[in-house]
């Protein structure tokens, strides 16, 4: 099998005064699944279109296996794009749909049949090959759209929000299916989505973009546990990370949270050195706040419960902490009513300290 490694070098796209993608440098390793993740308008789809050659970049280069393809036409670069709405021909059977790409290339009939059957077997759609698209389920349509691209043997498969048309329960099944398939056929895939859970669950690595700028590129574990900017910290994870405005008290090495003080001990020096001012933000995930009914420890801080949301096996306690709505995930065995007093503790190893001005994560 050919090796496909994709390298984007300072890729840039401008539309008049708008910079849609700003000097993006990214390396997609062979046989890996990389997701471009971000809210709408972050430049992820523009990037995808530049990779497959539908729009030319303003500057920068694109390499497939060290070969420059920046100005090659789409059909010359072997990138297979699957559209969001599948774009399956309604008047052709599944077989004809899948065979279409090969037919117009003039591949002999026997060869076509062989390759279509091969792909159909991998995707488990052999039984529907003679069916018309109008009679297919969403998952079958999706598989046909995928098969149609895979059959042309692309060096990279590009997927633009492939699961966004499906209902919630089905989406969860399909994303697991896609992940299994990608590992099985060992195909390099670039995947675009705005759904962070989808990105986390499916990717080898995630590139998180906002307003055309790449904020972080890393494994799901890296972007979740070691976010580099406030945007990444807030975008990844559900319910999202809590942000609490605080002030750094240099002389005592504490964060003044407004409702209590947190001694940051070992992080004092690094905060001292790297923070642009004493105005900081403490970021902490809902599951990383310890909530207790009694002030058992000297670092316990008192909070007043605003709402209690049971979710089955766990619950979310909401409280106002120093003017910020803070969510805490607790086991369902801990119950609370609005107005109740509870006590919270923060684990130093599970908090993030963010520079309020630059929005970079310091710790």
């Amino acid at each position: 099998m050919d090796i496909t490694e994709i390298f984007l070098e300072k890729l840039r796209k401008e539309y008049r005064s708008l910079v849609a993608v700003k000097d993006l440098t990214l390396k997609v390793e062979d046989r890996s699944l990389v997701t471009l993740l971000g809210p709408s308008g972050c430049g992820k789809t523009t990037t995808l279109k530049m990779i497959c050659g539908l729009i030319p970049p303003t500057s920068g280069e694109i390499y497939f296996d060290n070969v420059k393809v920046t100005y090659l036409r789409p059909q010359e670069r072997k990138a297979g794009l699957v559209f969001q709405d599948y774009a399956v021909f309604p008047t052709m059977s599944a077989f004809d749909n899948i065979a279409f790409g090969l037919k117009i290339k003039g591949v002999p009939k026997r060869e076509i049949k062989k390759r279509v059957m091969e792909v159909a077997e991998t995707l488990n759609i052999v039984e529907v090959l003679n069916t018309m698209p109008g009679r297919m389920t969403q998952s079958e349509l999706q598989s046909i759209a995928l098969a149609r691209t895979l059959v042309t043997n692309p060096s990279v498969l590009l997927l633009d929000e492939p699961l966004s048309n499906l209902d919630a329960a089905f989406r969860i099944r399909m994303r697991a299916e896609l992940k299994r398939l990608q590992k099985e056929i060992q195909q390099t895939v670039i995947y675009v989505t705005h759904d962070q859970i989808e990105a986390m669950s499916i990717s080898d690595r995630i590139a998180i973009m906002n307003l055309g700028v790449l904020h972080q590129y890393g494994t799901p574990s890296e972007v979740y546990n070691q976010p580099k900017t406030k945007f990444v910290a807030g975008f990844i994870g559900s319910p999202p990370m809590n942000f609490i405005d605080c002030t750094f008290l240099e002389d005592v090495g504490c964060l003044d949270l407004g409702f209590g003080r947190l001694d940051i001990g070992k992080f004092k020096d690094i905060v001292d050195e790297e923070a642009s001012s004493s105005e900081l933000i403490m970021g902490v995930r809902p599951e990383d706040i310890k909530v207790e009914s009694k002030p058992e420890f000297k670092e316990s801080m008192e909070i007043v419960v605003e709402a209690y949301e049971p979710l089955g096996d766990e619950a979310i306690v909401d409280a106002d902490l120093g003017g910020n709505l803070v969510r805490m995930a607790v086991p369902i065995t801990l119950t609370a009513n609005p107005g109740d007093k509870k006590y919270v503790r923060f684990d130093l190893n599970r908090i993030h300290i963010i520079d309020k001005k630059t929005e970079n994560v310091i710790v």
Binding site: A169, I172, R175, A176, K179, R180, K183, I197, M200, S201, I202, P220, S221, Y224, N225, I236, G237, S238, P239, P240, R285, P286, E287, E306, A307, E309, P310, L311, G312, D313, I316, D318, L325, R327, A329, I332, P338
Partner: protein, 374 residues
Amino acid sequence: MRVSGKLVVERKMASVTFEKVSKSFRHKKVLDSLTFKVEDKEFFCLLGPPGSGKTTTLRVLAGVEKADEGEVYIGDQLVNDLPPRYRDVSMLFETLALFPNKTGYENIAFPLKVRKSPETKVRERVMEVAKLLKIEHLLDREPRTYSGGERQRVALAKAIIRKARVIILDEPLSNIDALLRLNMRVELKRLAREIGQTIIFSTHDQVEAMSMAERICVLYDGRIHQIGSPSQLYEHPEDKTICKMIGSPPMNFFDCTYEEKGNMAYLTGPIKLDVTNYASQIRKAESQELVLGIRPGDITVSTEPSSEKAVEATVITSEPIGSKTIVHVKTTGGTAIDVIGEPWVEYRMNDEVWLVIDENKIHIMDRKTEKVLV
């Protein structure tokens, strides 16, 4: 009753009772003999997928749709033939229905103005509600300048301004983005507590229903499947529909057969379990054909055979989603199971793992009737 020429509905208990209410559109029965009671001041939810009859139920209560059969009571009053405006209910539609050419203030004040309340009273009340919903700064602006969340708040203010006996919210959080929805959930809950009125809302999102409502009524295909508190629905579902609908990721189901050997009772099939403790309940089933339901979170997955009962399986894929990992595995017999693993543990394709099922948390259903036995 009329007091000095004005119609006044006596303000007392505002419970809502549906007695065998049915409704059909052409030949399609959309509500099939619904019977439920919403207590005074309760925060009550109708949960169901699209097309299950939630909106129709709410419209029947508001009076914009008429029931074919059955009775609808608000408090002790039979309201079947009472026109909407005399029912004293207010309804927030899914589309919010704000007047685009009126300011926030005029929109919120509208329900009082059409009822000819004196201007000073209207102003006082609008200010009160605006403060409650923290929208004082939006009163002078028009809806087109609002963000999604602001529109939602103003529409809510309009729905609660009148202190109607019953407040109806149809899919109140469906039009806003995910993050805002989390905040609005808390806010709606706080609001419900503070205004102390009967509120009925509908949603298709089980998380929304579970997190907000005091009690939930699950509708499916126009029929009520279960009414209960969030914890009742989660821990004691009554039929397979509830099992499927509540909880995420969804419950695993396995077709099993019941067998007795001497004093012992077993489930055989893709998963084998000793169910001697549940034998008396299982015998109530119509046949030996059962369905075993286990939530992904009630199965522990480990990389070593941790106990005698551990079931051997191989990993198909795993999905790290932050605070936990969803692991898709396959038993040696080929049965696919979803389980919850530790966060940030790597479960690679074809890794061997062992599963231990928490036998206190299993659900056993009759395959034919789909009723939960255990």
